[in-house]
Symmetry: D2
Subunit: 349 residues, 4 copies
Amino acid sequence: MPTRLKVAVLGATGYSGLELTRILLRHPQVEKPVLLKRSADSGIGATNLADIFPALSGNGGYPLQSLSWQSLKKQGVELLFLATPHEVSRALVPEAVEQGIRVIDLSGAWRLKQEQHRAIYGFKDEDSVTAADLTEKAVYGLPELHSDKIPNAMVIANPGCYATTVILGLAPLLLAGLADRDKGIIADSKSGVSGAGKEPTSRTHFVSVADNLSAYGVFTHRHLGEIAEQLHLSTSEITFTPHLLPIPRGILSTIYVQLKQPASPERIEKVYRDFYKGKKFVRVFQTPKLPEIQFSLHTNYCDLGFCLAPDGQRLVIVSCEDNLIKGAAGQAVQNMNLMYGFAEEQGLL
Amino acid sequence: MPTRLKVAVLGATGYSGLELTRILLRHPQVEKPVLLKRSADSGIGATNLADIFPALSGNGGYPLQSLSWQSLKKQGVELLFLATPHEVSRALVPEAVEQGIRVIDLSGAWRLKQEQHRAIYGFKDEDSVTAADLTEKAVYGLPELHSDKIPNAMVIANPGCYATTVILGLAPLLLAGLADRDKGIIADSKSGVSGAGKEPTSRTHFVSVADNLSAYGVFTHRHLGEIAEQLHLSTSEITFTPHLLPIPRGILSTIYVQLKQPASPERIEKVYRDFYKGKKFVRVFQTPKLPEIQFSLHTNYCDLGFCLAPDGQRLVIVSCEDNLIKGAAGQAVQNMNLMYGFAEEQGLL
Amino acid sequence: MPTRLKVAVLGATGYSGLELTRILLRHPQVEKPVLLKRSADSGIGATNLADIFPALSGNGGYPLQSLSWQSLKKQGVELLFLATPHEVSRALVPEAVEQGIRVIDLSGAWRLKQEQHRAIYGFKDEDSVTAADLTEKAVYGLPELHSDKIPNAMVIANPGCYATTVILGLAPLLLAGLADRDKGIIADSKSGVSGAGKEPTSRTHFVSVADNLSAYGVFTHRHLGEIAEQLHLSTSEITFTPHLLPIPRGILSTIYVQLKQPASPERIEKVYRDFYKGKKFVRVFQTPKLPEIQFSLHTNYCDLGFCLAPDGQRLVIVSCEDNLIKGAAGQAVQNMNLMYGFAEEQGLL
Amino acid sequence: MPTRLKVAVLGATGYSGLELTRILLRHPQVEKPVLLKRSADSGIGATNLADIFPALSGNGGYPLQSLSWQSLKKQGVELLFLATPHEVSRALVPEAVEQGIRVIDLSGAWRLKQEQHRAIYGFKDEDSVTAADLTEKAVYGLPELHSDKIPNAMVIANPGCYATTVILGLAPLLLAGLADRDKGIIADSKSGVSGAGKEPTSRTHFVSVADNLSAYGVFTHRHLGEIAEQLHLSTSEITFTPHLLPIPRGILSTIYVQLKQPASPERIEKVYRDFYKGKKFVRVFQTPKLPEIQFSLHTNYCDLGFCLAPDGQRLVIVSCEDNLIKGAAGQAVQNMNLMYGFAEEQGLL
């Protein structure tokens, strides 16, 4: 039996981190992951992940270690997953790289190449030479677009949850040059509450969310930067409006594009099918069928469907995923699979 | 004490009809309404509304009568509310008018003037001379737009729930000529399940709706016609996408418009405030505050808020209401208040 | 027109306080209430209740004052509602009484006569002479049981939400001496999340509550004391288990009693109907119909129904209410109505 | 590589059947299952399971066959899962057995040995000799109780969802003779809506369930029979009250027992731990920790926890499971694993 990959997860106490831990525990080519906690993590006193998530009870437990590079090296950890706030990731990734440990970072810390977009996170280019260098080298880990660069990346910037639905929904069309960008592109996205994180706030209080829907971060949400960069759009060519849904998980993005020339539904469907040919985790629905959030929950799929107006020019694309899986932990494992030459769907079906 | 108005409700066994009954029961200028049932109504054997809705128990009951024009006349009913399917309303309104009974119809049967839009309901112009005549005379009962014609109307076509949010959200801007209609207008609407009616279907099953979100009726939803007519748009100038939310009631519409010229948020806010000055049931939120569905639940308000892009040209309008109140029963009572010279907010605060 | 009662509400920024404010604003015999805030209230900087609850927007606003006895006296406030934590109520009620202001306290501070039960709140008898005296004089404000003492009370201890359902569900049976207390009585109660208060905690986070149900406070919940006192039971004769439901509001208590002698359903129904004769806010359902949470939402009703086993001895009683209305704000107004000689249902239908 | 087991599923179009199909598709020792449909199944025209459940899209599809014994034999099917109504199972099991095909039946058709309990399903003993014989031979498939008889069973009667939580919660205590049965045992159970099946009814309509809780089937629910039989109780010794929760899946049963003698929590915990020693799918929580529905969702665990009153005699047991997994499909696969000598947890972790 071949040696299994040794990985560590920092931030397993959050929603994405928990999901990641669950997937890794079932992955046949990975050792039981080393689980790390930060002092600032919720449940600070906990020494076992099952104390924080009783859903993990009863299998001998999942001890939490404090982060120590020396200890990680000693345990033979080759790959570190960071499910941490972006400030933490910004600080830790250079350290990990110095130790020769590869990183898949689930935060927004390393996703953006353009300074104007990074500004929204408060990062400045002059932070450090290392940071500038890593910003350059980090690979945006969207396997359907960058499977060429992911295998050899030292640092993977795992995409944002909203961004994944919008980019996968638009890429085929934009790369084929079909969209009339002058008319403006709109992504109206709706997400379950786990996307807002585990921190209890008045906004995540059950009574605030239940029986409700609210828009937020219009024109200012951080994912706008990565959407624009990956799709080669300016931020005035795309309008992105996130909404908070009264469900625990799942994203549906309704995307509006106008085509330069009238097209047939068959033509559009072919563009999508050709683009995602061989991509296991994008499912293109046959028009007029549309994906719904439920269809992709607890899976690593991003589901795409579309409707074309009778005029053949106005196109509505519906893109769905589980924000904790394809939008976070599942995509991270998909990246790991590519980095280590495992089958892309290993541990994800 | 002055004589109170005598009204009847057909279809009290549905969601809008129940809400309407509740409002009328509390209205100080209206007699306890005559409640009518059709043989096709759910709970066909029921002789009391409390048998169908136990929430109405304990106050002596609400007997259901079968519809009889003779009996209505004898009881002195002056106004009939129809909370019935559009085919039923299409058949009954001419009969009521012939009897000299005014009608507020909550269905889509009489909302549309243009034949192309009516076609979606399967109505043909040659149905009957009466129908053609009534189609002409029926007043679209959106009090914020048509308070001049409502008082004397014989037939009020009460607006659709989605349509109310979209029309009220766009009217000030379009009438001021600020919108660049060539760029296309988008209304991305999300509704609670009561909007889909009380009929149990696989689509309204709890397990299908909970933890889900789905788009439907893209480019084909019936409310598109009234939105276009009321806003003087062609159906290719506006794209309307309804979605089914996992909540019992409430609508949020996110509306996207591009302006002909860059404007300031103050300018936009003034346009809205001026337009709705003195209109008690539209609340304009001060930018950057946005309405949420919860804020208008169980009220007759339509709440409006907006965000303007840094470029001053892309405008996102958020419009919320309770689909059963401002989107149906409350608006019907608001129309009744105007028809009979009662204070517009009577029974609605 | 007669002078209206002048009241104040401290704690309008919480869920019960908001509901109370809404009811008082519609009450025909009460002036627009004076709204008071404490420095510790959430939304501390807010000067208007509409800033905290945008649902209250658009009617000129609801200014928040800081508590000052002098100012209250000057404004002619005769009655103070406290929707505050019990420690705060314990401190403020003696002050209010000293000022000659009557109090309806929605907390648990003054509900308990027996020292053993008060201990659970950490109150000691020797706190102060005044406290001991007020503990004695405070009237437990359950109008269906104590309508004789409420009218003249200086201090009303408004009942707990769970307690209201359990006491009203059991009182007729226990007072008639039908229950076999030796076999043990069980109240299995389920409440919506607003009962847990507005404070954001990991327990009230949407993701913790949604798609979940949990039991808590088994054998230790504070409401056990008032249930036992009001029903003249020892705490070993009744087992009370609260659960947290994934809904914003509403309580259903399933209560299990064994009868000393077999009885017929008719006999049991008669006991309940006789006991609640003339009580407007208790609805007794005809067996085998059972109340559901939805039936009493947004009303001041406590709904009761029951099932009797084929053996005629095991009885299951189902008791439902809206925890924010009959379980808090509505009941408080019902008490006010009795204290000031208004019709009991004034403002509550 | 050894030959994999060949199985068929009738009723994959229902909730339990879908869950079962999903588990079987991932099971390493089972061939892709043959999926069968009945003419009466919903989605009657569908020829592929992905047409009914789009969540299954994109893997080449899951064709549905019509049931034919000849065809099943030809395909080498050794084991048939029935996720069908009990009348259907009652009719089909004798046929399957005659063909030499073993059956795991998820309905209530074969669970009951006592005629008095079977009466509730409308089955009569004289139905047929075969039926009487199979009733005798069918094994109640609760692996934690009957792992001795399951391996050789021809017909497994897979337990009811509610029954699984109640039986597993009570068995250790009753078999140890600790419970005072004369005082009565109470199981107050709450289930998600998938337990009510996929049929759209007014009871499963989203608007009826959301923001609600209701009790039903008090003293009459069919699962009472199997609970009583398995625990050797009379139906007057146990009261069972099911409730419908506003969640898609999951059951929590709160069980009340009085002990003959006062005991310590340690004693009780030991009784449970000893009983479930080596049982992989029952997790006993350390008092005072209690399981919640979320903890066991999407797993095959039944989670147990308890609270003991200060008097040491009143015991509250909380028992949770996913009704579609441990309460149906997962338990069925657990039974299959025992029947074919696979590891008990195979395909279930």
